[in-house]
């Protein structure tokens, strides 16, 4: 498996495979001795050349928050052979998800399914603790699907809509 990993401004290329219980790992071309066990969902016991790390993973809007000890990093993993069927490299502008930035209640849906929107156009309004947040379209395109309706309660990270 090959992954393009974005952490802040930097990009890393990770080649990671597992065969007969043995891991092979290359980060930006360098071979690294690695092995890991998924202790429970979201918690990894990772060993890199005998250095031990307990890594926790939180799914957040648009990516992962990886915790190592007290440090947390926002990490985006792009799998070139993505599950979502967008395997073509040229499909960078493909389907994007509209993610709830915080837990709350959908108080207003601003567009209908099928509407064409500009990047940054408001798709719906989520309210929590008496504050309203307009959730904007991540790209210019068509609102393919609205996954929640007015009155729905959402958690941070939930997909609210699909824009293609």
């Amino acid at each position: 498996m090959i992954y393009d990993i974005a952490i802040g401004e930097k990009n890393y290329r990770l080649e990671l495979d597992r065969a007969s219980g043995e891991w092979s790992c290359r980060l930006d071309g360098c071979v690294i001795e690695a092995d890991a066990v998924l202790v429970r969902p979201g918690v990894l016991s990772l060993r890199l050349a005998n250095q031990c790390y307990e890594v926790r993973c939180e799914h957040l809007a648009g990516g992962l928050k990886i915790w190592i000890g007290q440090d947390s990093l926002n990490v985006e993993v792009r799998d070139p052979r993505s599950l979502r069927g967008r395997s073509r490299a040229s499909d960078e502008q493909g389907v994007k998800k509209l993610i709830a930035p915080m837990p709350g209640k959908v108080v207003r849906v601003l567009v209908e399914q099928g509407t064409h929107v500009e990047a940054g156009a408001g798709i719906m309004v989520v309210e929590a603790m008496k504050m309203q947040n307009e959730v904007k379209s991540p790209k210019k395109g068509k609102v393919q699907r609205l996954l929640v309706s007015q009155g729905a309660t959402v958690n941070a990270g939930d997909v609210l809509a699909i824009v293609e």
Partner: protein, 508 residues
């Protein structure tokens, strides 16, 4: 002894009281609002009764509903916890009238101490030192100006009917007084339904030190040592410890004897706390008395070896205290951190939501009083206190060491918490040197919890991210599966996932 106790509260304190009941062989009755059905306190209870909508006035503050549950369940006593109805004299009276024992002081004792101005008047009579100021509500701006001129600026305007920072204004100079008085009055009116405001001299950089008292219903009143509670943010306590690093045995005895005098002046029974402000010369002044069990009671329990909740129950059941003042000794040091569902990067706004992951610390000297569990959704409707993490050791240093270690094991995923604040605080050199006052936390710079620009950590994170993708990140996968768009044919995706799961399992 009581056979059945109704806990008129929720969250971690309800769990605490239920545990004491079970330790004493007493049945525990829980009440829960619509959003609390899955709460930890309901899970622990022997009986549970729904009491209505989430909003407190319709549930946890609803005296009628609670007493109705007491009647239906046959509870012979009610423990009010802290907050909610715990200092409500009307409730204490209603319990007495209904023939259900209220585990706490009498309504009369509550009233005596509940109004700050009345309490100050009583203290004056009892010869207790208190912060110079007025013992009655201010009647006019003119009077306020005269008092302020007499005691000297800076002065503090405070609400007679309540605390938590509401109705409080610090005034540095005469020209600011008018506006401050009006603001304090209206805020107090809104928060407590009573706009009465009084004046105190504002002590510069005070420490907030409180004394635990315990009185049975047979005239025995004792003090159980002090707690240092100076670390507050916007007048809300964040970290407490016992004993106070600046109180020696002599000062403890003096403060304790004053606290006992205060309790006696109010005919106080059961557990209570007398709060003092301590200036830089170590003079202490009576501030107020809290006529309930406090959030931070665990630190006192750890350094005295006493179980305060069990003692509350015994006192209410009419038992005499089985120990004297001489039997009480303070041993070791305990520090408590209040873990809140708050976003430190968003001005500590409450951060409700689902706890996607919970990893709790354990080990020597660690105690957790918690109201949460993994998978539970923190409701938006109440105080966002999740849990208290307490570290105990034979010295302050050891307690800090254990607490820091426990903090590194503690992880709450899915919501924002103030855990990061404690990591910084416990490592702070002034904190470690016990060099702080009530302004310390507010002065501490709000720093975003950004990642260290450490290449090594980034490499580890990159590899870990890849590992999660291959092994199935759990949280991530579940969400992705739940939210997958229509593009992906369900069958193909599940067989890929099954294949990777089988692969992951093989070699383990």
């Amino acid at each position: 002894m009581f056979k059945k106790i109704l806990i008129a509260n929720r969250g971690e304190i309800a769990v605490r009281v239920i545990r004491a009941c079970h330790e004493m062989g007493i049945a525990a009755v829980a009440v829960y609002s619509d959003v609390d059905r899955a709460s930890l306190h309901v899970r622990h209870a022997d009986e549970a009764y729904p009491i209505g909508a989430a909003v407190s006035s319709e549930s946890y503050l609803n005296i009628e509903k609670i007493l109705d549950v007491a009647k239906r369940s046959g509870a012979d006593a009610i423990h009010p916890g802290y907050g909610f109805l715990s200092e409500n004299a009307q409730f204490a009276q209603a319990c007495a009238d209904a023939g259900v024992k209220f585990i706490g002081p009498t309504a009369a004792a509550m009233r005596a101490m509940g109004s700050k101005t009345k309490a100050r008047q009583a203290m004056e009579l009892a010869g207790v030192p208190f912060v110079p100021g007025t013992s009655r509500g201010l009647e006019s701006l003119e009077q306020a100006e005269n008092v302020a001129a007499r005691i000297g600026y800076p002065i503090m305007l405070k609400a007679a009917a309540g605390g938590g920072g509401k109705g409080m204004r610090l005034v540095h100079a005469r020209e600011d007084l008018k506006a401050a008085l009006e603001a304090a009055r209206s805020e107090a009116e809104r928060a407590f339904g009573d706009g009465e405001v009084y004046v105190e001299k504002a002590i510069v950089n005070p420490r907030h030190i409180e004394m635990q008292v315990l009185a049975d219903e047979h005239g025995h009143t004792l003090y159980l040592g002090e707690r240092e509670c100076s670390l507050q943010r916007r007048h809300q306590k964040v970290l407490e410890e016992a004993p106070s690093p600046v109180v020696d045995a002599d000062m403890r005895r003096k403060m304790g004897e004053v606290a006992v005098r205060v309790a006696r002046a109010a005919n106080y029974t059961n557990a209570g706390t007398v709060e003092f402000l301590v200036d830089q010369q170590k003079n202490f002044y009576f501030l107020e008395m809290n006529t309930r069990l406090q959030v931070e009671h665990p630190v006192t329990e750890l350094v005295t070896g006493l179980d305060l909740v069990q003692l509350q129950i015994r006192i209410a059941a009419g038992e005499k205290l089985s120990f004297t003042q001489d039997d009480i000794s303070i041993r070791g040091h305990a520090i408590e951190c209040r873990i809140y569902a708050e976003d430190p990067n968003n001005n500590y706004m409450p951060s409700p939501g689902k706890i996607a992951m919970l990893l709790e610390p354990a080990g020597p000297g660690i105690r957790i009083d918690s109201g949460i569990y993994e998978g539970w959704t923190v409701p938006m409707d109440y105080d966002p206190l999740l849990a208290k993490l307490i570290g105990y050791g034979d010295s302050r240093e050891e307690a800090i060491g254990r607490l820091s270690r426990a903090m590194s094991e503690y992880f709450v995923g899915g919501i924002k918490t103030n855990l990061g604040l404690f990591r910084r605080l416990l490592a702070d050199s002034d904190f470690r040197a016990a060099n702080f006052d009530t302004g310390f936390l507010d002065r501490m710079p709000l720093r975003e919890e950004t990642a260290s620009a450490n290449t090594r950590i980034e490499e580890v994170a990159a590899i870990a991210a890849g590992m999660f993708a291959i092994l199935g990140g759990g949280n991530m996968e579940a969400r992705a599966a739940a939210n997958s768009s229509a593009n992906e044919p369900a069958q193909a995706s599940s067989s890929w996932k099954n294949a990777s799961r089988r692969e992951a399992l093989r070699g383990t």
